[in-house]
Symmetry: C2
Subunit: 305 residues, 2 copies
């Protein structure tokens, strides 16, 4: 494992020289370390790059880390990871990703993740994305996530893009069974000429299923963000989507949230707000001795926390 990977791992997956529990470290398309445990089996796929991660029914309090790093230019990494979470399991999945280039060549990671959550299982999914290096090559991370939640399953996704990613296209689709719940918190910061596209499609098929999508983003420099979400309510269900964006400099943000109620007992709500930081917030922090720039940094950090 090279030392760029070590730095990226520390930033995106709380690596401290080792992982607790099961793990697989992907480095430039290869495997730089793997461990299965008694209850969590990680096996390479045959026929395509990627892993099958099987979490046995009833597994509780364990975690699996599957970070992926691209450490130099001219890498276009594509991986298919499938997660099979057994009935009643309660686990944490850590899936950070870092891309690094020091030359003019692009570095890209494209992870296609499928989650199959068994009955009454509960997963906390943590994902941090980071781009580093001084090269002019494009750093891009393009995740595709497909989620299938069985009856009573709960998936909490916490995703953040913490800087340096020039381009990201994120697609997520989920279908929810009876009493299943999906909670997504996404935080996104774009700067300079970066672009970010987010595309969520959530289908509430199960009786009493529910989704809560919360997106917070900041667009600085000349960066551009486009957020799109669609929630289909096909049964008695609840859907909530919230999209708050701060624009600064010449940043541009577009939010297109769609709600479709195909059932009389579907209750769907959406809110969106796009704007710059309120002048009075800046003023208040400046009276406490901060410069305008420090005040803005403080507010943005709080907003994305």
């Amino acid at each position: 494992m090279n030392n760029i990977t070590e730095k990226l791992l520390a930033a995106v997956s709380d690596w401290t020289g080792s992982f607790k529990g099961a793990f697989n470290i992907r480095e430039d398309g290869g495997c730089a370390g793997r461990r299965s445990t008694e209850h969590i089996k990680i096996e390479p796929k045959t026929g395509e790059p990627g892993l099958d991660i099987r979490i046995l029914p009833g597994t509780r309090g364990e975690s699996v880390s599957i970070p992926a790093c691209v450490t130099h230019g001219n890498v276009d990494d594509l991986v298919y990871n499938d997660f099979f979470v057994g009935e009643g399991a309660d686990v944490t999945i850590v899936a950070g990703c870092g891309v690094h280039t020091e030359d003019g060549e692009p570095a890209r990671h494209n992870g296609i993740h499928r989650f199959f959550l068994g009955k009454n299982s509960h997963v906390v999914y943590l994902e941090k994305h980071l781009g580093t290096g001084s090269g002019s090559g494009l750093r891009s991370i393009d995740p595709v996530t497909e989620v299938t939640l069985a009856e009573g399953a709960v998936l909490e996704m916490d995703t953040s893009q913490i800087g340096g990613v020039d381009r990201t296209t994120r697609k997520m689709s989920a279908s929810l069974g009876p009493r299943a719940r999906l909670i997504i918190h996404e935080r996104l910061l774009t700067e300079a000429d970066q672009t970010a596209e987010t595309d969520f499609v959530v289908t509430l098929d199960g009786e009493d299923s529910g989704v809560d999508l919360i997106s917070r983003s900041v667009a600085r420099g000349r960066s551009k963000q486009h957020y799109r979400s669609v929630i289909y309510g096909n049964a008695r269900c609840t859907g909530h989507s919230e999209c708050d964006a701060i624009i600064a400099d010449d940043g541009q943000v577009s939010a297109a949230p769609e709600l479709t109620a195909n059932h009389p007992d579907a209750a769907l709500i959406h809110e969106a707000a796009i704007g710059k930081i309120a002048g009075e917030q800046i003023l208040k922090l400046r009276t406490l001795g901060l410069t305008e720039q420090q005040a803005e940094e403080k507010i943005v950090a709080g907003f994305l926390k």
Copy 2:
């Protein structure tokens, strides 16, 4: 003027046997009455069906009524009306539309309206849409509205579809100059197998321009509604869009509001909520002696008022 037109006029344009001010009554594609006034000139277009309505600069407190009625099946009425509102004018435009068929043949009105509001002018635009008659022919009203607001111009649009329209496709686009304001209140009721599509595109180009879109709708029976709005903020501006829908029976509603901030001083907000009438609201009215159906009628009427 036939007596179906008289009934439709009373319902959609508050006609009481006569109109105050300037008017043009369109009946089955023809003209059933017209009056210009000193300050409001109505003239037929040459080369295409429709009118040029010129409101002289400074005209205040006057109104112009331009209702259109289709009174039998097998009519597909298409009309182009252009409104030129002079600088500083302050007027009311009443533009109701009724379609009636008593046989299996369709009755359709398709009005293409363009509004050019001069500097600091103010227009209140009232529009009611109604379908009547016992025939099985499709009743449809498909308005296309293009709005251009000069500096400081204000357009308040109040539109409602009060029943009986089997199909409606409504397209509205607006571009706003400096300090211009556009306020839209739309109310929509669909029943049985009716369908309604609404498509708003508002471009806030002028400094300190603002838009407020408020849509309230009820979908009953097996009716389907699709609401789409796009607000572009290209300058220091404010945009607000609000979409509330009640679904009953097997009604379906889809809301897709989009906000695009292309300027750091654009402040855009959206809210949407789709759901059925809360059980406790029904219960409260039932304890006052209403049946469930009466309670629902009462709530729907209040919601669309």
